[in-house]
Every structure is written in structure tokens, then in C-alpha cells.
């Protein structure tokens, strides 16, 4: 019991952090599925970067997917870390779409680095979302 009271005391020292953790958004299967979709699509789209016909539609599709993830996550309560990550991911994807829309040449390497970065980040986000409390 002494150990328990000590632990409670330690947690009470930083009430905001403990409150944030206690109120943490539970596992959301829709959020998790969206991130899995982004990760898999980024992997597939990266292989099509050398194809000039597919580059732009894939970039638009990825920007839309990451925007949907932001829109889905942003009003879930106590979810600020995921929302911040979602916004950063969306900025990465929007940057590729904007470059295609600007009409200038987009190098296959740049396209591949964009999708690789999105896949890598989506993988990390998905892992973390998967550990949310049930």
C-alpha cells in the first residue's frame, strides 16, 4: 500500500501530464485503418514515380488521404499529439501535389523521397496508434 501511495504521489506531482495520460483517446479503428491505407498507398505510389502519367494523380490522392486523416482526427478529444503528426504528414503530401500543380518538372527521385518519407512516418504513427489503450 505504501508503494501504491508513493506512486500516486509521484503522478500527482505533475497533474496535467497524468490527466492527459488518463484521458488519452482510446484506440480508434477508423484512425488506425486510415493510417494503414496511407502507409500502403505511399509504398505503392513510390514505385510509380518514374511513370509521368501516374505521378500527379497519385500525389493528389495522397494529399487527399492525409487531409482526410487530419479532418478525422482533429476533433477527437485529448488527441493533440496525433493531430499534430497528422498535420505534418499532410504538409509533406501537399508539398508534392503543389509541385505537380505548379506545372514545373518533378523529378522521379523527389517523388520517391516524398512517398518514402510519408510511408516511414505513417509506419511510426500507425505503430503508436496501435498502442492506444483499448
Amino acid at each position: 500500500m505504501k508503494k501504491l501511495l508513493s506512486a500516486v504521489f509521484v503522478l500527482a506531482l505533475n497533474g496535467c501530464v497524468a490527466y492527459d495520460a488518463y484521458m488519452l483517446t482510446s484506440f480508434d479503428s477508423n484512425e488506425y485503418q486510415l493510417m494503414a491505407q496511407i502507409r500502403i498507398d505511399a509504398r505503392h505510389f513510390a514505385t510509380a514515380c518514374a511513370n509521368p502519367v501516374m505521378g500527379k494523380p497519385n500525389a493528389v490522392a495522397m494529399a487527399n488521404e492525409t487531409e482526410l486523416f487530419v479532418a478525422y482526427s482533429e476533433y477527437l478529444p485529448h488527441n493533440s499529439d496525433a493531430v499534430n503528426a497528422a498535420r505534418a504528414l499532410n504538409e509533406i503530401a501537399q508539398g508534392l501535389k503543389d509541385r505537380y500543380n505548379s506545372g514545373g518538372a518533378v523529378s522521379p527521385l523527389f517523388c520517391r523521397l516524398k512517398f518514402n518519407g510519408i510511408e516511414h512516418s505513417a509506419d511510426l504513427i500507425q505503430q503508436t496508434l496501435g498502442n492506444r489503450p483499448r
Binding site: 506512486a7 495520460a21 488518463y22 505534418a88 504538409e91 523521397l113 516511414h120 512516418s121
Partner: protein
């Protein structure tokens, strides 16, 4: 900061022992070399490096969330133990 100093810091980051940061350093080095070889425009390199900063932000946010998830598990465990003790 000179190019040599940047390269030294990249090498230090690549050998820091943290796989996330080591991979990031390798990514920066490859992107810079590719731009120097003409495979990417300077604007694309700039955006690629800005993406690195965005990815670092994501790593930081997910680290925070992971800590909260662990703390949540601890708190719920303590609540269960406390409830059982009463």
C-alpha cells in the same frame, strides 16, 4: 556553418546509435548527394530537407504519445490495484 561542419555533424548523427536519427542523417546525405548530381532541383532539395524537419516533428509527437500511453497503462493498473485493496 560550412559544408565540412555540416558533413561532420551528419556523420556524428549517423553514428549516434539511435536508428531513427541515423536513418534521418543517411536520408539527408543521400538527398544532398543526389541534388549535387543533378537528379533533383535545388528547390526540390530544399523541400526534401523541410520534410525532414516535419518528420522529426512527427517522431517527437509520437514519442510524446507513446509516453502518455505508457502512463495511461500505469495509472489504470494502479486504479485496479487500489480498487482491489479497498
Amino acid at each position: 556553418m560550412t559544408i565540412d561542419e555540416i558533413n561532420q555533424q551528419l556523420a556524428a548523427l549517423a553514428n549516434c546509435g539511435d536508428p531513427q536519427f541515423a536513418q534521418a542523417a543517411q536520408y539527408v546525405a543521400q538527398a544532398t548527394a543526389a541534388a549535387q548530381a543533378g537528379q533533383m532541383s535545388p528547390q526540390e532539395l530544399t523541400e526534401t530537407l523541410q520534410d525532414m524537419q516535419r518528420q522529426m516533428q512527427i517522431i517527437q509527437d509520437m514519442g510524446q504519445l507513446q509516453l502518455k500511453e505508457t502512463l495511461n497503462t500505469v495509472i489504470n493498473g494502479l486504479i485496479l490495484i487500489a480498487a482491489a485493496a479497498t
